[in-house]
């Protein structure tokens, strides 16, 4: 059995705990240093299949602002980030947009929704 120790910074909140993961043959078996359970979940994912929440803006037609902020509702695989950005940049929506509106049901086959994180009233 191959044992490996990896040190990570939990990115889930600004406390940025230093989290240590012990891997046996590439499988995380023990996580220490995290302040809350999110740190453990993050560390296990980060050493196996890292994910991120993507935040950006999309163009709005007829809105009080030219763009409205969006996010993937949950984290998506890290390697899909740039494909998600292409899909986001290809999209234009009509005002009004309200916080929580689902703008895409399944972004790039990740099964994750793209939602508005800002209100954009009509002009």
């Amino acid at each position: 059995m191959k044992t490996e120790i990896r040190e990570l910074t939990c990115i889930n909140c600004p406390l940025g705990c230093t989290v240590t993961v012990e891997l046996h043959d590439g499988e995380p078996v023990k996580v220490t240093g995290n302040t809350c359970v999110r740190g453990e979940i993050y560390a296990k994912k980060e050493v196996t299949h890292p994910t991120r929440v993507v935040t950006s803006t999309i163009r709005v037609k007829g809105g009080a602002h030219p763009v409205v902020a969006v996010k993937t509702r949950t984290d998506v695989p890290k390697e899909t980030i740039f494909r998600c950005m292409e899909a986001i940049n290809a999209l234009t929506v009509e005002a009004p947009v309200s916080i929580g509106d689902v703008l895409m049901e399944d972004i790039c086959g990740t099964g994750v929704e793209l939602v508005a994180t800002q209100n954009c009233p009509k002009t």
Binding site: L8, T9, C10, I11, N12, C13, P14, G16, T18, R38, R52, V53, V54, T55, S56, T57, R59, H65, P66, V67, A69, K71, K78, I81, F82, M85, N89, I99, T117, Q118, N119
Partner: protein, 419 residues
């Protein structure tokens, strides 16, 4: 003249949380004055996630976090005037503001809460002679351009300064298709949060060059490149270490300073290190009934702490209006030593404390395996070991009222020492 019990200047997260807590403490005569056309302050342009995990147990983006508080203000029907810029606060608490709809207005307040936030440090950091071609922006300006105006300021980017906004913008511009070539930081450590180095730079392979600065700018009309050089321990460029980078955009992320022109003109005393008002345990300034919270008081990196601090200011403003906030002399001074640069508050009157009081501070350098010590006069009352302390992260100690009340303590000292 208009009248209000509590006038809150600024409708960012600090002003909003102060308003909600003042209302919940029983006051029904509050007015929020905001210069922008919308509430929410700087959070409106911070579209990335990572806000509010500790307040809402959910990871929100900046606008979502702001929306939660705006909703609370709306539910309580707390009056706000938008598009209204405060021009003056008199020592008698007469507030003068100008708005496009009302013109010049004066309000007599019983208590005032300063919540004007902060602004970016000017270009002083870019201490180089010569042209200033187009393409040089502060990181916050670039953030507004991209996230609010939907306009990308450039395609090839160098960032000077590793504050959080610079790091966040490195990722943001990368996602929008720009090539961020390097982030240069004058200091031997980053001023930003570690999580932002991981998720904004490391994720995209953007190099962070510590102890580096921009020594030359190229281009006349539009920026065409910059020269970076390594600096010595005095921050002086080391000859022979120059490296050229071609770029059309230079972002400056050189830190934030509290926005206190109004406070100064009103006669509010400033604390030397924070550039914010000097406050007591109730977050009250030297002017009785004038309180401060959020980034106008000291620069925060975590909006959750802003909301917590502002709630305290809101409650104490109500106590003041109700005549319940008694002043018993100067309070116990809080002094700093070792690596501690400042504390908020700077004086403590135990009689006015809640059961516990959070004293926030920052350190001046990176410490490993250090101790945070608290002394009441010469007696050490707490000794907490911390694996890492860094200037980018705000720290705290919590004091108990029962430990301070009636003890005739002359001085409280917060100290960081190497283990």
């Amino acid at each position: 003249m208009k009248q209000a019990d509590i006038v809150i200047i600024g409708g960012g997260p600090a002003g909003l949380a102060a308003a909600v807590s003042a209302y919940d403490a029983g006051n029904r005569n509050i007015l929020i004055i905001e210069r922008d056309e919308q509430l929410g302050g700087i959070l409106n342009q911070c579209i990335h996630n990572g806000f509010g995990l500790h307040t809402f147990k959910e990871e929100l983006t900046g606008p979502e976090y702001a929306a939660r508080f705006i909703k609370q203000v709306e539910e309580r029907e707390i009056p706000c005037v938008l598009g209204s810029m405060v021009l003056d606060i008199s020592p008698e608490k007469v507030i003068t503001y100008t708005s496009s709809t009302e013109g010049l207005v004066q309000v007599q307040a019983k208590a005032v809460i300063l919540a004007m936030g902060c602004r970016e440090r000017p270009r002083g950091a870019l201490n180089i002679p010569g042209y200033r071609p187009a393409g040089i922006f502060s990181a916050g300006t670039a953030q507004r351009l991209v996230n609010i105006e939907g306009y990308m300021p450039g395609r090839e980017v160098v960032i000077l300064g590793s504050g959080d906004i610079g790091l966040i913008m490195a990722r943001r511009m990368t996602l929008e298709g720009a090539k961020v070539k390097v982030v240069a930081e004058l200091m031997p450590y980053s001023g930003g949060l570690k999580r932002n180095i991981v998720q904004c730079l490391d994720d995209f392979g953007i190099p962070l060059k510590l102890r580096h600065t921009v020594v030359n700018i190229h281009g006349k009309e539009r920026l065409t490149g910059v020269t970076l050089a390594e600096v010595d321990s005095h921050g002086k460029p080391i000859p022979g270490t120059e490296e050229e980078y071609s770029c059309d955009t230079l972002l400056l992320s050189c830190g934030l300073i509290p926005e206190n022109e109004l406070s100064r003109n009103a006669g509010v005393e400033m604390a030397p290190v924070t550039n914010g008002p000097s406050v007591n345990e109730s977050l009250e300034t030297n002017l009785e009934g004038v309180f401060a919270c959020g980034n106008v008081l000291h620069v925060h990196d975590l909006v959750d702490y802003v909301s917590q601090e502002a709630a305290i200011a809101g409650r104490n403003a109500v106590a003041f209006v109700n005549g319940q906030l008694k002043h018993h002399g100067a309070g116990i001074p809080v002094s700093v030593s070792g690596g501690v640069r400042y504390t908020v508050p700077r004086t403590i009157d135990p009689e006015n404390m809640d059961d516990t009081l959070t004293v926030r501070f920052r350190v001046g350098a990176v410490y490993q395996n250090a101790y945070i010590d608290v002394y009441f006069d010469d007696k050490r009352v707490s000794h907490i070991k911390r694996p890492v302390l860094a200037p980018g992260e705000m720290e705290k100690v919590v004091l108990r009222k029962s430990d301070l009340l009636g003890q005739n303590i002359q001085n409280i000292k917060v100290e960081v020492t190497q283990g």
